[in-house]
Amino acid sequence: MQGIAAILRDALAILDCDAPVAALRLVRDIAGLTLRFEVGDEVFALAGGEQGLRFLAAEAAAADLNVRCDGATILALIEGKTRVMDCVLRGALEIQGDVALMPALSRASVSFAEGAVRSRAMNSLLEEFRKQILRG
């Protein structure tokens, strides 16, 4: 079973190839920020820099924003079965950090989605992710 960080790494590689403009915008959206993700039992960090995005061990850097959710919530968001605000309100999605930095995360999620809907390969990855979530 692939971890969430590995799936995200694959997704970003697909974005680079299939939707390079969206990938570039995503890098620009989170340039200078370090995001810490806690998805189920898995914890990792993603740093936006001049050269692109870098995956870090969670403890390697101080995070600007902390995001906590589970894989099923991510899948439901991608499939349009729930909305970000609904997830936040029922505690399925927590985002902690300086409020002023949160629009950057929002813009990054839009950039990611814009690229994803333009990519055929992303469908295959999504299918793998869906199977993984359904398997539990």
């Binding site: 403009v21 969206a22 915008r25 968001l77 991608i78 499939e79 349009g80 079965k81 909305r83 970000v84 605000m85 999620s109 839009v110 990611f112 989605a113 814009e114 994803a116 809907v117 333009r118 055929r120 469908n123 299918e127």
Partner: protein
């Protein structure tokens, strides 16, 4: 019920062929083409959309995509289905007739019958259907302007469909129900300043003559719908086209906003725009007058789904609003009274 005579079928076998761009032709990257079918079975609350589309420069590997779009709306379950996307190189098309295969799906016209076999890769959706044309086709090959490009289309407004649909954990059998087919092709860019309204309905066959009335409306305009480019309202009675209202003989108007739930596809469209869909009207009214011919049409939307197509201009999605509902028509064409209410399907863009 009378099917289209053999000569009419022969015409279909030729005119419903694909219109792929030739290598070296201009604006190949803007090429778009699709085969579209609807099946309507109001007795069991079942409406179906099948659309196989190609978009982009199909003469170059990796420069075009092919989508198998298949959805159904069930009265108690809502929308089921999805879109399987492929590189256009995966589509296998016969150049001189309608015979296209994509993944596990194929659409074919042979011996006077359309045969559809759809098995989505990513969603549990299987459709097997045969559709027998009940009216002669209408070919509108006049490069109707859409933005900086143009679109052409072939319409068969009434077919009789039988088959099987398995989706959402249940299987529905249908027999002798109303269906519709069109085939669109042209070159345009999604995101330019254009929109369209399109819709159809067909009456049940008359008990005595077995003839049925079918109508198709199409209207292209700017994105706001205020400047109309082209519009036609076509009326068939039995096999034949009986009336064709065009341009200034037609008044068409969207009104209200459909307040039911409108899902978006793909679901990631909600991450791009979290707002509810605002562009589905509650009603659509058409009034056509041409000499002694007249027709008034009212359509009420009862179910809607928005398909998001990536804009050809940077980011953003273009929303194609697919709807089903009830249409009521009243009028007189070529001395024959028209009056019926039937299940119908309309698409609103812009």
């Amino acid at each position: 019920m009378a099917a289209v005579p053999e000569t009419g079928r022969d015409v279909l076998g030729i005119v419903d062929r694909p219109h792929l761009p030739a290598p070296g032709s201009t604006a190949r990257e803007n090429y778009k083409e699709w085969y579209h079918f609807n099946v309507l079975d109001p007795a069991q609350g079942l409406d179906v959309i099948v659309n196989l589309s190609l978009a982009g420069d199909v003469t170059r590997a990796g420069a075009a995509r092919a989508d198998m779009i298949a959805f159904c709306h069930r009265a108690r379950q809502g929308w089921l289905g999805g879109i399987d996307s492929y590189d256009a190189a995966a589509a296998v098309l016969a150049p001189e007739r309608m015979d296209v295969a994509l993944g596990h799906n194929w659409l074919r016209y042979e011996a006077g019958v359309y045969r559809l076999s759809v098995q989505l890769r990513d969603e549990p959706f299987v459709l097997e259907a045969t559709l027998v044309p009940q009216s002669r086709p209408l070919l509108i090959w006049n490069d109707t302007p859409v933005g900086s490009g143009s679109v052409n289309w072939l319409i068969i407004p009434a077919l009789q469909a039988s088959g099987r649909l398995a989706a959402g954990g249940t299987t529905a059998l249908f027999s002798g129900v109303t269906a519709y087919h069109d085939h669109n092709w042209g070159r345009w860019k999604w995101g330019e300043d254009f929109g369209w309204d399109w819709g159809f309905a067909a009456d049940r066959p008359d008990a005595e003559s077995e003839a049925r009335t079918a109508i198709v409306i199409d209207r292209t305009a700017d994105r706001l719908g205020t400047a109309v480019m082209e519009q036609t309202l076509a009326v068939w009675r039995g096999l034949d086209l009986r009336g064709l209202f065009t341009r200034r003989t037609i008044r068409a108007r969207r009104s209200g906003r459909f307040t039911g739930q409108v899902p978006k596809w793909p679901g990631a469209a909600w991450l791009i725009d979290a707002g509810e869909v605002q562009t589905v009207p509650a009603h659509y009214a058409i009034s056509a007058r041409d000499g002694s011919n007249w027709l008034d049409v009212e359509y009420r939307v009862e179910a809607a789904l928005q398909l998001g197509v990536p804009s050809d201009f940077g980011f953003g999605l273009i929303g194609l609003n697919e709807t089903f509902g009830t249409l009521t028509a009243k009028g007189e064409v070529c001395g024959e009274a028209i009056g019926f209410s039937a299940r119908a399907s309309f698409e609103f863009l812009g």
